[in-house]
């Protein structure tokens, strides 16, 4: 018989045990009767010899080895029965736990989906990203760099440990079928899908012969683009698509949710067919490279091969490849933006969960103390201490698990709203699901919290002094129990202090940041990228004319006050840090200062409302052929010239990267013609700590012909309006389409923002954190107050006879109230003291993780702590007042 059968045939086994013992007693008695004893005496002696049939049976049951399981099931039944008998306690405890585990589970679900899950490709651990690396300023500003296309082709051919594919981020205009639309274009090498291990949902990938210049123009659509542009059309393969005025044949559709670097993209074309001249240059590094380790190769072997090969390239092409190495790293999702926010929030909800646990623990403890006599009675009747501890723990585990189940239900309902509520784009949001990891996590935390809050009450199970407890009145509280109770309240208050101070700091920070001047007048400004028609992009003169025409058309739109073209917009993504120096001879590279370079048309200052401090801004004379001029901001004026007047001074820009010349050796000399106000380019929160804050502007009209094509792809237009800016968007689109090059129907506006929106978005993370921390802090405050109220109500209730006695001896109501309040004040102050230290550490962490965080000011601490103390005193006042109304006579009679 195995233990399973023994367990399930318990009834049979019980009756057999009974029968066996009875047989023994009868046989013994029969023998004694035969020896001449009376039947009663024989029965008695047989029983004595055996030593108590019930004890023997109990020992036999123990010997069976299934005892623990039976007890466990019994304990669970008992626990459920006890909970059902006290519905108020059960509801409060379950709600608290459901809330705690619910929010923790939601945060963990997000953390798991975004940070912990591997990438959604087959065998993601075999995928690597290959980056270029140089030890110059590029590494400082851009970190890992992409790879030059010729280098990529050489690697693909020569590196044996990796199967490699490359792709390029680009954009284009799809003009047919349907309305012209700007699309996110990915030029991809033919083996991209096979390297990633992804099979297309329809059609095929690119063929090697299509992946070179002159190949058949073919296109692969993203799943979403297919659904949007060819709704329901299952015969999309073979249809044609007009992209940048060229006809492509659709050969495939990517699978649903396929992403490259976290972005879905719209259409894919073969990388080899890309016509941009920079693709053939080893100097330009536009290609992102992914690779899959071949079987039996590990990362370090692949790295070794890449290192050797990069050295070989450097010898062969010293001009472009000297000092350039290739680095392979495991392919990971880029979630650096949200990582710290997510861990911070997970930390915060863990504090909420801990408070919830402490709360339930104090409730359970109060119950355990009032059950002390029951437990003592059971010890007296023969229950083992371990058995009682186990039973108490089972009860709290049942409570914890039920709370956990409710919490998971809460999380499953709350996860989508939470993700939707996230400010901006949450990377990998599509991978956030309640999966087995989350369920496992929820099970573990609910069991752990069950044990955590159940342990203290369980360990109170009486071991000795049973007699004293049974003799003592029901209403005595030992010092140990009071200390334990207080320590839960202290813990809750300390945790609440941490959350309140964090919320207070965030609130202050947000107030300070919102009142900062971004440096531009954000009211009524619309900024949007504009894509020129592919028809004009081939010819620099046409490009210049096309931009001029777009600006002229836009200026005539009703409601528009002024218009400018600009490449990088403050507060939005995209920037261009370049070195400069103040003497004709360049200082060593490590000592070169940097500034953000922005190209603009003359009306930019007016559109953005940036104040001109000295000199002049650009005009129509600043064009190709005239002296190169720049306008610097006050920060750069300070850095470069100190107290001297910068107007009329010269600055030198590195020839290789200067926007005034294309890739020559000698530095460009440029003249400073004006100084303007500083713009918080990096956002309200981040600008003060940004690495490069200095800014200068240069005229778009002075950008040389060879750069014009690339620059055009980056340009935006900025529009100041006299009416709400979004109202002008429709007419603006029409105007752009009506301008030169728009006739072909493939000139479009995309990425439309208002400057107010960008300014507000630059604080969205802080606002979001403040809101969540505010909610957490409020729940912590509420829970801590409930905890204080519960514990004091309980402790006071236990002291009714004592208080009654005091009042009978002449204590006034006021004295009784202060007696109770003193007790709570002691707990509150210890809690605040402990919490202060924790809050200081949390403040340090917040400052480290959140941009623009103000340091922890004493006034913030003072404010948040007085809120807490006030609320806590209010919560203790109710039990105190109740105590003061005790009728002394009734109280003394009670026991």
């Amino acid at each position: 018989m195995n233990w399973w059968q023994r367990l399930w045939r318990r009834k049979t086994m019980e009756s057999q045990l009974e029968k066996e013992i009875r047989f023994h007693l009868d046989a013994h008695a029969a023998q004694l009767i035969a020896q001449g004893h009376s039947p009663e005496e024989a029965q008695r002696q047989a029983r004595l010899a055996l030593g108590g049939p019930e004890q023997v049976k109990e020992q036999c049951r123990d010997a069976r080895g299934t005892r623990w399981l039976q007890d466990f099931l019994q304990d669970i039944r008992y626990a459920i029965r006890t909970l059902r008998k006290q519905p108020a306690f059960a509801v409060v405890a379950l709600m608290t736990l459901a809330l705690g585990t619910g929010v923790t589970t939601i945060m963990f679900t997000v953390v798991s989906g975004v940070l912990l899950k591997p990438l959604p490709y087959p065998h993601p651990d075999r995928l690597v990203a290959v980056h270029g690396h140089t030890d110059d300023w590029n590494a400082v500003f851009y970190g890992e760099q992409n790879v030059a296309y010729p280098d990529f082709l050489d690697c693909q051919r020569e590196i044996h440990s990796l199967e490699m594919a490359g792709f390029l981020f680009d954009g284009g205009i799809v003009s047919a079928p349907g309305e012209p639309e700007y699309v996110n274009l990915r030029e991809a090498s033919s083996d991209l899908f096979s390297v990633l291990g992804v099979s297309l949902s329809q059609g095929r990938g690119f063929l090697p012969e299509e992946d070179r210049s002159g190949g058949t123009p073919v296109v692969i659509l993203s799943y979403r683009f297919w659904q949007r542009r060819f709704p329901g059309d299952t015969h999309v393969i073979g249809q044609s698509l007009i992209l940048d005025q060229k006809s492509y044949t659709v050969v495939g559709v990517a699978p649903e949710n396929f992403r490259l670097d976290g972005e879905e993209g719209d259409v894919f074309t073969p990388l080899g067919q890309y016509t941009g001249a920079f693709l053939q240059m080893r100097r330009a590094h536009p290609i992102r490279v992914v690779g899959r380790l071949r079987p039996d190769v590990n990362l370090s072997k692949a790295q070794l091969e890449l290192t050797v090969f990069a050295r070989h390239l450097a010898e062969q092409f010293p001009d472009t490849n000297a000092g350039r190495s290739l680095v392979a790293a495991p392919l990971r999702a880029d979630v650096s933006d949200v990582r710290s926010t997510l861990w911070l929030l997970l930390g915060a909800v863990t504090l909420v969960l801990l408070i919830a646990c402490a709360n339930v623990a104090s409730l359970l403890l109060a119950r355990a103390v009032s059950r002390e006599r029951e437990l003592a009675m059971r010890v007296a009747l023969g229950a083992g201490r371990g058995r009682l501890v186990r039973q108490c723990l089972t009860e709290s585990a049942v409570l914890g698990l039920s709370g956990g189940i409710l919490g998971v239900l809460l999380a499953s309902a709350g996860i989508r709203p939470f993700v939707a509520f996230w400010p901006g784009i949450l990377p990998r949001a599509e991978e956030i699901h309640l999966d087995w990891r989350v369920l496992l996590f929820a099970a573990v935390i609910s069991l752990l919290s069950g044990v955590f809050f159940g342990l203290a009450p369980a360990l109170r199970a009486p071991s000795r002094d049973v007699e004293r407890i049974l003799r003592a009145g029901a209403r005595s509280v030992s010092g140990g129990s009071r200390r334990l109770h207080s320590s839960f309240v202290v813990a809750e208050i300390a945790l609440a202090v941490v959350l309140l101070v964090a919320a207070g700091m965030l609130g202050r920070t947000l107030l300070r940041l919102s009142s900062l001047d971004p440096g531009v007048n954000t009211r009524n400004v619309l900024v949007t990228r504009a894509a020129l028609s592919a028809a004009v992009l081939a010819n620099p003169a046409q490009i210049r004319a096309a931009w001029q025409d777009i600006l002229d058309h836009a200026r005539r739109v009703p409601g528009v006050l002024s218009v400018a073209a600009v490449d990088t917009i403050p507060l939005r993504e995209g920037n261009n840090p370049l070195a400069y120096w103040t003497t004709p001879v360049a200082p060593p590279p490590q000592q070169q200062p940097f500034a953000l370079a922005t190209t603009v048309t003359p009306d930019y200052l007016q559109v953005m409302g940036i104040p001109l401090l000295r000199g002049r801004f650009f005009d129509d004379h600043d064009r190709l052929g005239n002296e190169p001029v720049i306008v610097i901001d006050e920060v750069m004026a300070q850095h470069a010239f100190g107290t001297q007047d910068p107007v009329g001074k010269r600055l030198w820009l590195p020839g290789t990267y200067s926007p005034f010349s294309a890739g020559k050796e000698a530095p460009d000399a440029v003249r400073v013609v004006g100084v303007v106000g500083h713009v918080r380019y990096w956002g309200l929160a981040t600008d003060d700590q940004a690495q490069v804050r200095a800014q200068y502007y240069y005229p778009f009209a002075q950008v040389p012909d060879p750069l014009l094509h690339r620059w055009s792809e980056l340009m935006s237009i900025a529009v100041r309006t006299g009416i709400p800016p979004l109202h002008t968007l429709g007419p603006l689109r029409q105007a752009v389409r009506g301008a030169t090059g728009g006739a072909s129907g493939d000139q479009a506006l995309y990425e439309v923002h208002t400057m107010e929106q960008l300014a507000s978005d630059s604080l969205s993370r802080q606002r979001f954190l403040l809101l969540l921390f505010g909610v957490f802090a409020a729940s912590a405050l509420l829970l801590a107050c409930i905890g204080i109220y519960g514990v004091l109500a309980y402790l006071t209730n236990q002291r009714v006879p004592e208080i009654g006695l005091r009042m009978a001896l002449g204590a006034t109501a006021r004295e009784v109230i202060s007696l109770v309040l003193r007790q709570s004040l002691a707990m509150i102050f210890i809690g605040v003291g402990v919490g202060l230290f924790a809050a200081l550490a949390a403040a340090r962490l917040l400052q480290h993780l959140v941009d623009g965080m103000s340091p922890a000011e004493p006034s913030t601490f003072a404010l948040m702590i007085s809120i807490l103390v006030g609320a806590a005193l209010l919560a203790s006042f109710l039990p105190a007042r109740r105590a003061s109304r005790i009728d002394p006579i009734a109280a003394l009679r009670q026991d």
Binding site: F23, H24, A49, A63
Partner: protein
């Protein structure tokens, strides 16, 4: 009647196995047998007999069957399993070695150093 000694720890199982080795036997008979064979020198508490029987059955050293006694009542009869017989042999041998060793040491003390 001489004072009864306490049963040394762990020997109860061995004694039970030895008694049961005679043939299928019920609990009361085992108790009687132990008392008679040990001539009242060793105190076998009846109360610990049944838990020991159940433990041995649980470990697979004993098998149990319900049969009728001579008086026609149903009783639980225990007998050795193959595993139980093996256990009995090793434990008996262990016990014999222990006795020999203890006897040797005691004899040595009496005879003085040789």
């Amino acid at each position: 009647m001489p004072a009864k000694s306490e049963l040394p720890q762990g020997t109860l199982d061995l004694l039970i196995l030895k008694v049961v080795a005679i043939g299928p036997v019920h609990g009361y008979a085992i108790a009687q047998c132990l008392e008679q064979v040990s001539r009242g020198v060793v105190q076998v508490p009846q109360g610990s007999l049944y838990p020991a029987l159940h433990r041995l059955e649980n470990r697979g050293l004993l098998a149990a069957d319900w049969k009728h006694t001579e008086t026609g009542r149903e009783a639980k009869f225990y007998q050795l399993t193959r595993k139980g017989r093996k256990q009995l042999e090793t434990e008996a041998a262990d016990w014999q070695r222990l006795i020999d060793a203890v006897g040797l040491i005691l004899g040595m003390t009496e005879g003085g150093a040789q």
